[in-house]
Amino acid sequence: MKGFRSLAAALLLTSIAATAPRAETLIASVSSHQIQISSNYTGDQLTVFGLVERGGRTVARGDPYDIVVTVRGPQRMLIVREKERLGPIWINRTQRRFVDRPIFLMVSSNRPLNEIVNEDAARRDRIGLANTQRNLPPELYYEESTVRFRQALIRILEDKGLYAQDERGVTFLSETLFSAPIDVPATAPTGSYEIEIALYSGGAMLARQTTNFEVIKTGIEQRLATGAHDHPFLYGLATAAMALLLGWLSSVIFRRD
């Protein structure tokens, strides 16, 4: 409900401000800006709502509107290793580092991405699971081993549920009003997430809008996590004491001889 209300407020504001838009503008909102992790947390779902706004002087378009929603989680360096045969044994021989990769990535669109935008434009616009890195020169991007390692990275993270692509995730409720669910799995890391909504028509990007949400720990989960980082010695002492106490307790309870 909160989402609808802020969406309504946003709509109102824009309709006052946007007196003479040349092209379409994109208005979007997310149902919640915070996901709280408590002890019974098993993942959560958010919804993105949006509206394509056309001004009075907006040119009429022959092609329908397309929406691509990209959710990027916290970025880290990821290492992909490949096992190769060395004599009789298999060991990790080569590895490739991927700097500043989001650990969580979800791409959702109203129809398959290759129907919305061509490959070059997708790379330039950073659309799609393979196109998260900025400013990668084409010769490096298309280099054979880079492609192999990148495909492995995407495939493994997709298996873990951290990368996802949904070609029918965005639903148009009318010609200009759309919504898209965002599934945040329980294994998604804590931190801030960026939602980027891109409007396409006829293969060209018309507008882009970003919003965000964060995943944080609350309650006992948060207190334990901050305790472990802020007072590591006390935390260690408490854990060791608990371990020894439970060990002693069980020997008392089960004592028979």
Binding site: I91, A152, L157, P189, G236, A243, S251, D257
Partner: protein
């Protein structure tokens, strides 16, 4: 029923963790081994980050060996003097082990070192124990004395080195040097592989020093208790990777399992004890050998840097 782990950062089924740790606790109580070499790979298999798994298992092993130590202490099957020598040597070995660990990590070959060590160590130790257990079982069948008794004045050479000490509970009068050397080697291996080292200590004390198995188990558990309590503190202070909730779950399952294991150990004769321990150690070695020799189903793997968690 699921519970979210604050440090490992994922939800896990409570019943599954209790069952797993109960089974490993049983084995731990039965053989006087920490059980870390079984539990750590299992937790990593459940997607728990390796650093969190190693650190949290240290806490669990400390707790379940506490139970065992108290049980054996009450039965007077624990040699404190021998245990102290082992702990002293173990600390020295651990320091060298950590230094070696860090230099191998810098070279990027830590995974290979760990897998190769598991394979060679577990298959050799397990194989030797299996051979010996089978041989003494055959001897017993043939009506010969199953074990060569230690005769007065027929000690092996290494016991006659200087600084001989008398260990009453272990029925041992031997030089401290080989005992401390054994403890240093075990501390080194333990630090590199992230295990307590009970699986090496127990057979070594039985075979090289002919100490009664009951005392060996109690003394080994004492050594594990001290080192793993220290390891828990070390992991908590240096990496903040100990998960308190996971540790509590593992402990509840582990200490209960260890109770039943310790009780079952009393009804086990020496020969079947050695045979079972040999098979257990050998099978872990073979599991790692399979990983090394069989072509992987997916040659690629993704590593999240530890700081990501």
């Amino acid at each position: 029923m699921q519970i979210y782990l604050p440090i490992a950062e994922l939800p896990i089924s409570i019943l599954m963790v209790l069952g797993l740790s109960g089974a490993v606790g049983f084995i731990s109580g039965l053989f006087g081994v920490g059980g870390g070499f079984l539990l750590t790979p299992l937790l990593i298999f459940l997607d728990i980050p390796p650093a969190v798994a190693v650190a949290t298992v240290a806490a669990q092993v400390a707790g379940s060996s506490m139970t065992g130590v108290l049980t054996y202490w009450r039965r007077k099957a624990l040699d404190l003097k021998l245990g102290s020598v082992l702990v002293g040597g173990g600390i020295i070995g651990t320091v060298f082990g950590v230094l070696f660990f860090n230099s191998m990590r810098r070279l990027g070959q830590l995974d290979l070192v760990i897998t190769l060590s598991y394979v060679t160590l577990f298959t050799i130790i397990g194989g030797l124990m299996l051979y010996d257990a089978l041989r003494s079982a055959l001897r017993a069948k043939a009506g010969k004395p199953a074990r060569r008794r230690r005769q007065a004045g027929t000690h092996p050479q290494w016991m006659k080195l200087p600084w001989r000490m008398r260990f009453h509970s272990s029925q041992l009068y031997a030089s401290v040097i080989p005992i401390a050397a054994l403890a240093i080697v075990i501390g080194f291996i333990g630090a590199v592989l992230g295990v307590g080292g009970g699986f090496i200590l127990v057979p070594a004390l039985i075979y090289f020093f002919r100490i009664p198995p009951a005392v060996v188990v109690g003394t080994s558990l004492f050594q594990i208790l001290v080192t793993m309590t220290g390891a828990t503190m070390l992991h908590a202070v240096t990496n903040q990777s100990v998960d308190l909730i996971l540790a509590a779950l593992l402990l509840v399952g582990g200490v209960i399992g260890a109770q039943f294991g310790g009780r079952a150990a009393r009804n086990l004769n020496v020969d079947s004890f050695r045979l079972l321990l040999a098979l257990l150690i050998l099978s872990v070695g073979l599991r790692f050998a399979i990983e090394l020799f069989i072509p992987p189903s997916d040659p690629f793997s993704v590593v999240l840097p530890e700081s990501a968690r």
